[in-house]
Subunit: 529 residues, 2 copies
């Protein structure tokens, strides 16, 4: 999410989410912390422009429209994907959704937004030229320079060159692959890889990809038709997206190509392709249920070929590899990059990033969309093409940049805040402290002690109860519980003043550490009656 | 760990550990489950041969010698690293440590072991030719075919060819990089990358690598000398290993090259190199403490260049990237692959694996050391060089292979068991059930309820106590605790039979889910007096 502000007028670009890292236990997703901005008075939200339909650009839309209440602008496919989300959040009838085509101009108060087509790994992506009273700003969205894109529609070089001719105050450009040398391969190389795999396969072919990767579905349709295979689709989100993309003209499927999965199961194996979601190894997604034998629709059989047509999102590598190993275990052949180039990145590599800088020739440069290491590397590339270091802003999320009519850029304050965790229906009602507690609970487990004693004499009324979770099982467990009960009884019957619950905790902590070298969290409920 | 058995005679090759995956909460490391083997009577353990000094080949040595009590055989550097471990475990004076040189022959009962040198990413690695009454077996250890190794000592091609001439019953070969095309670059390319980085750096240079990567330290020493820098070493394990490697002749350091860190801090920045451990981003290692400002010895300053001369172990990518971002945040330039090739893999890629197969020309092939996906891919490579599929055993850990004098191989049973988790001093006294409980604790946190009521009338004697951990903080927390107390009071005073603690759990579970869409683990201690 990037916000452009002129006076009280606000233009928001994108409303994405971040996926939690592995050690953010139990977090569903993370959204940007825009509370400081939303709390300002008299803001006139002229538009929320969404550049394309991926989760990291759309996933926080329900939070953003609730906080900012401005009209949404998106191309047709992106609008379709946003509507699915807003319907789920019961917000669809409360928003104003405006559909535009790449090349359209949007007049949003002081912001004259010229949209232009860019290639990425989902159709109908745009970048933005934003003309303001202080100058022209170019925001690339997510992009690559694919010269042979699957939909035949390359990135709009001419428009970028035209911006350069008019003079660009600042370029905001996608940094995802800033540490990758060279040029990202075209989506078309996948066609050749698919062809090799389809030619060599005797059994069923199962293709796993992202539900939003519409162009990949087109490629699977083409190669399946060529090799006389019908396609079954498993997974509701994938089915919904394909239906929507066909309706809106983003996907051309020959008649009778799609068959229900139950029909496909009766057909000869070499006439069947199955498309499934879950290429990230998510525990509840179709591919993982398939790999663990928990899918109702069909099961892996000897001779199946599974194609993983997606890269693991950083942090998901382990889960994806585990899924691959399980598929092998069940007798499938699994095809994944680097065995065949069945997926390519949707983001520009270094040469393309240099080309973008050379085409737009901005006065200032702001690398966006990447970790700090990517922004730094992108800054180095910009310096190589001649932008002085002092005109580059390598800044973290939440930092204000101030541009003035005299052509200067100043790096402002970083606004307090950071990320907002979303878990269940709770948005931001807990922070890093809760995450740390979850880590601590998960590390060595917990032990709980419950006892009732008399207030006067320290007479133990019930046998102390010990409950363990995540601490130990196996042979030593019962013996350790017995020792723990002895320890608790001893302390409860001692007459030494002091809080009994603290004494119990200390004694058990020592006992457990001596016996196991581990330190579970201990909770003691000692009731005096 | 691989065990070769002939009658009651046993030969063990390697004694490694596995690092836990991200979701194995709180586990220190994992060792092979050899309990079934160790429980057999009359075993005559002829030798425990360790091929090289990395953790995944040495890390379980204290568990293996305790269970099997056989003599250890290793080359000098490997023996040095094993001795450090055995001394820590207070086992050094109880084992028989036998040092050999690559090329030596070990007569271990029915096993005539011919050792031969292989290149890897630590010096003094060997593979093994094991002559037995049923035939000759070749075990590669971890290897690559480096034609320009840093220590000038290439893999022993001649010995491999000689084995082929004698006829090899089965080859056991390293599968780590079986999905990587081509040939792994030589360690020497790192020299050139180091040279470029050292030439361009004005400030201090900090090199982070594995404590066992002795040849990397040699390379840093050479380039530092060339650019007139002194070297300070931070990290006890690194200091110990360097001292040991110098003493045993594996490392040549010019006199006065090494200086204490306190002296280095007083020298001009461009005359200083610092070597640190922790290239995996481990929370307590030197590099991470440096990245988070918690290191006592020195701090990152503007102008420092940090070189990460190690690849992230699969599953560690996220942690390493976070460390890199933090170093950038503190003003360092960070150099890592792919920005410069400052690290290369120590394992053979596909062409080298094919070459190994072609050199050894085994009758049977057993891909080892890799996940199932790597073993499968390695099997495909073997079929490409002409080994029939039925002579290849793609098997998971714990599977018995039976070779007979008539030249046959049979795949036997998979022995019950799997992996043994080590956490603190507990070895295998808990299994996957405890890990699942830890996951559950960590997912949504816990809530504990404690109350005392009268047995007869259900009269509540103390205000019920509610304790939350890892569930929520923020604004809604106190209100939710109030609601929870109301709910508990209501249930405790109802006269409806049934177990009060179950009723409390059910009611709170509903309350929390309705309010937060989350399901913490709930424990209710309702005491009747």
């Amino acid at each position: 999410m990037t916000a452009f502000r002129y006076g009280n007028d606000l233009l928001i670009v994108d409303a994405g989410l971040m996926f939690p890292e592995n050690d953010m236990l139990g977090i569903d997703y993370i959204i940007p912390d825009f509370r400081h901005l939303a709390a300002q008075r008299n803001l006139n939200v002229r538009g929320i422009v969404i550049t394309h339909g991926h989760e990291d650009h759309t996933g926080a839309i329900q939070h953003v429209v609730t906080a900012f209440n401005g009209p949404i602008y998106a191309t047709s496919l992106t609008a379709g994907l946003l509507e699915v989300k807003l319907r789920q959040a019961r917000l669809l009838d409360q928003v104003s959704m405006n559909v535009f085509k790449a090349g359209d101009k949007l007049n949003l108060g002081p912001f004259q937004v010229e949209t232009f087509h860019v290639c990425h790994s989902i159709p109908d992506c745009v970048g933005l030229g934003i003309q303001t009273p202080v100058g022209l700003f170019v925001h690339t969205g997510d992009f690559k320079f694919d010269n042979t894109p699957v939909d035949g529609w390359p990135t709009d070089f001419a428009k970028l060159a035209e911006f350069a001719g008019r003079g660009v105050m600042a370029l905001f450009s996608d940094s995802t692959n800033a540490d990758r040398p060279g040029w990202t391969p075209s989506e078309s190389v996948i066609d050749q890889a698919f062809d090799r795999v389809f030619q060599g396969a005797d059994g069923r072919i199962i293709v796993s990809t992202f539900a939003s990767l519409i162009s990949r579905v087109q490629q699977v349709a083409w190669v399946s038709e060529r090799y006389h295979r019908k396609i079954a689709i498993v997974g509701t989100s994938m089915q919904d997206n394909i239906r929507m993309a066909v309706n809106r003209g983003y996907l051309e499927l020959p008649p009778n190509l799609i068959v229900p999965i139950d029909e496909a199961k009766k057909m000869p194996n070499h006439e069947v392709t199955i498309i499934v979601t879950g290429a990230q190894g998510e525990p509840s997604a179709v591919l993982n249920r398939l790999a663990t034998g928990r899918l109702n629709h069909f099961a892996i059989q000897q001779g199946d070929t599974v194609i993983l047509s997606a890269h693991a999102i950083p942090g998901n590598e382990e889960t994806v590899h585990r899924t691959v190993n399980r598929l092998f275990q069940r007798g499938a052949q699994v095809i994944y990059d680097p065995i065949e180039p069945v997926h390519v990145s949707g983001h520009a590599s270094q040469e393309e990033q240099r080309l973008m800088l050379s085409l737009v020739r901005p006065k200032h440069f702001v690398p966006i969309h990447g970790e700090l290491r990517h922004l730094n590397q992108h800054s180095k590339l910009a310096q190589q093409v001649g932008i002085p270091r002092e005109r580059i802003a390598v800044v973290e999320n939440g930092t204000e940049l101030i541009f003035k009519s005299d052509g200067t850029m100043t790096i402002g304050e970083r606004i307090p805040g950071g990320y907002v965790f979303v878990d269940g229906s709770s948005v931001g009602d807990f922070g890093p402290a809760v995450i740390r507690e979850r880590e601590e609970l998960g590390r060595d487990g917990v032990v709980m002690v419950n006892a009732v004693i008399t207030a006067e004499g320290g007479h133990v009324l019930h046998e102390p109860e010990i409950v363990m979770r995540g601490f130990m099982d196996g042979a030593g467990r019962d013996a350790l519980i017995d020792s723990a009960i002895q320890t608790v009884r001893r302390i409860l019957t001692q007459h030494n003043g002091g809080r009994k619950s603290d004494q119990v905790k200390d004694a058990l902590s020592r006992l457990f550490y001596n016996e196991t070298r581990r330190r579970p969290m201990i909770f003691a409920f000692i009731n005096e009656v």
